[in-house]
Symmetry: C2
């Protein structure tokens, strides 16, 4: 085993986040939000189709929101897809992607009713740590090069979480991570289609397969996935990380706490959260009508809109990745609710209005505050009316980001809108580190 | 659909290689060699373990050498693994990897007894064409960067083959290719372990999953996998190919004919074929004893040994990728048979002898002839004896390469060593374009 892999394997094995109340609290909130985001998508027709597809093979693992039992790989695939389907699940600035959908879907797939809640939360925290570290090590190159981090890092992070849950010894943990790494995939050209959420499912499935390949199919793979010459960091990034620094800072603080998980109120891409908040606050102050607005300028730092790949959306689903569409809805007082982001056509009239929106980069008029999250990131919106008036504002800590978090009530509302059992689910999660998973699984499936 | 994807989709759809007798003959030989390479591995313990793992879920698809029926995805996974397990299956200079293991394993998984042989061979030829084109477009960068082409291109090529077999219309073909592309993975650090053959299985499985995701689970993905901005060529290579040239030269000649498939006599990496032939010819001329040899120099062009990653093998399996080991066996008159490349320890004494072997690059004494395959590639071996004598030779068209092919008898021998039904299998393959697959499937499973 090479030096880098050995260091990372030891970090995963020796992690003890259960002593950290903030990390545990963040994990409980993350689990609750994952369940809410998943259950919110149960009625979607694409989700129903994948449900029927995975239902063909029976097995020991459960689907969220569907009381059937399928193979562990298919449960991971389906639960990852459903959790990320509406783009309503959490994100993380270190990852530049969605950690909980792949990690929790993989963990659930290899858990059973007797799995202890403390072990489950511990593994989840370690998985998020791993995913954030991978992101810090190879981004922004990785993301800008065309990868979708939810898929690529997701496979390895979910494998790390499984390894932590199952207390795998050195060699087998490295082999599981290696088989996950050699399946690491997911491309950003799929953004705006149903394959983007599929990436979360494929990452979870890749981790479950890696675990089964080593533990059940007896496949002995390389233990050198992070080797300095041709390992993961070299292929998916540009250079090896400072592994000594990983060691010094791992869990100090836990990445699930700081920079922390972002939670969503709406079902669109997290890169649009600042712009949506800015546009909503302008609307609340000035109550524009569509006909008032002559021009809209949106200001980003360079690459601040790189996840917002869509400029002329045909459907609400594509509109999840279109700042023009989201800002237009918010500025004209339209609710940012799920119907606006459904896979149905956007009215021709609305699509024509989007031509009023211009994107601008690195404009000297705007800059992020010291507290911006991620560092240096902001979105400013400037409206020019037909009468020549100009209104503008900037947001760099949007609602749902760790510095401006959702309240307990807002989290509870998100869960209640998705499940009749919200109160019971919350109560079970709140005492999860003292109980096995069984009761929670029964409530959510 | 972007221009590049549209061009490639049309090439796949409009291909008619059945008119080309040379392409058909090459496809028959490729299929025969694939079956021989697969059946040769049936008794391996790692293969038996994966067999038991995939046997858990029943389905409509067959395993080679095992009369059971499993899911299409698991059949693809297993058959790809088994065919590549001994590194005995074909390679291709354009691909820099193994085309038939992923492509034929995927095609078999989505075929049934009624699938017509001509359609099957046609799809196979198109898959090889696609895989070679991908290699020509992104290599040598892709390979040298750390990817294992059998896995990465294999997924897309196998999806193209399935699309051709099923006569998918434009949009759905592009979507299937896109879901294959977004799973494209496989890293070279796994070379020398059982995960290398697993890459062939994972690629075949990725293609089958892509097909099922679109056709059975109704997942609508992007049709822009080859878009110029952030499509496959940009992420896995360095630049977009000359797509107009693809169009002009597609199938002229078919890549399965020229540069053509390489077939193996031995179960080691094809990059060692030249060196093995050179060492064998020196042994036949001079009958060295181990104690005669003071020093061995092996000469490559730069990067000519990049697949031969192992320098100090612990086991015969690792020795498949070690030129020092292979040349030593050949120079000392030891047979290059399967036992030498089994996953069992190499004797300490032999390992010590390997220190006598030096690798050299771009030495002005040696160069490839005009007919070298691949262009510019050679291996020269120079032996210095204890008495100071020097013997050397060079090989740039090894036995099994298209310019120095195996005879019909040698192919038949390879198949006979693996199957009691070799004569019947050969007869069925020889008339396959006039018959359905059923009889052949019954003979090989």
């Amino acid at each position: 085993m090479d030096h880098q892999t050995e260091t990372i394997v030891k970090l995963i094995q020796s992690s003890d986040p259960l002593q950290d109340d903030q990390a545990l609290a963040a994990a409980r909130t993350g689990l609750s939000d994952y369940i809410a985001s998943s259950l919110a998508a149960v009625q979607e027709s694409a989700v129903a189709k994948l449900h029927d597809y995975v239902a063909r093979e029976q097995g020991p693992a459960t689907l969220i929101g569907a009381n059937i039992w399928v193979t562990a790989q298919n449960a991971a695939l389906f639960n990852g897809f459903q959790a990320h389907y509406l783009d309503y699940d959490d994100t993380h600035a270190g990852v530049r992607g969605h950690p909980s959908a792949p990690i929790l879907s993989a963990l659930l797939a290899v858990s059973d009713a007797d799995t202890m809640g403390d072990e489950f939360l511990r593994a989840y925290i370690i998985g998020v740590e791993m995913m954030a570290r991978l992101g810090e090590s190879v981004n922004p190159y990785h993301y800008l090069h065309g990868w979708h981090a939810t898929g690529t890092f997701g496979a390895i992070a979910a494998a790390a979480a499984i390894g932590a849950l199952k207390h795998l010894p050195n060699t087998r943990l490295a082999q599981v991570l290696g088989i996950a790494a050699t399946q690491s995939a997911g491309l950003r050209f799929q953004v705006g289609t149903a394959v983007k959420p599929l990436h979360a499912g494929l990452a979870a499935r890749a981790a479950v397969f890696a675990y089964e390949a080593v533990e059940e199919a007896g496949i002995a793979g390389s233990t050198e996935l992070f080797n300095e010459a041709n390992g993961y960091f070299r292929v998916y990034g540009t250079a090896n990380p400072d592994i000594a620094k990983w060691k010094q800072t791992w869990g100090k603080p836990w990445r699930i706490v700081s920079p922390g998980l972002w939670f969503k109120r709406y079902t669109f891409c997290s890169a649009a959260m600042q712009g949506a908040d800015a546009a909503q606050s302008l609307y609340h102050a000035h109550r524009f009508k569509a006909s008032d607005i002559a021009r809209i300028d949106v200001f980003f730092p360079k690459n601040g809109d790189s996840a917002l790949l869509v400029r002329a959306p045909q459907t609400g689903e594509e509109g999840r990745f279109c700042i023009e569409y989201i800002v237009w809805l918010a500025l004209t007082g339209q609710p940012l609710e799920r119907a606006a982001f459904a896979p149905t056509p956007i009215p021709e009239k609305t699509r024509a209005e989007l031509l009023k929106v211009q994107r601008n980069y690195d404009d000297p008029e705007w800059q992020a505050s010291e507290n911006a999250q991620p560092k240096g990131r902001y979105t400013a919106v400037k409206v020019t009316t037909r009468s020549g008036k100009i209104y503008s504002t900037i947001v760099d800590q949007p609602k749902g980001s760790p510095a401006n978090p959702l309240s307990q009530l807002e989290h509870q509302t998100k869960l209640s809108q998705a499940s009749e059992n919200a109160t019971d689910i919350t109560a079970l999660i709140n005492r999860l580190e003292h109980e096995p998973l069984g009761p929670l699984i029964r409530l959510i499936n």
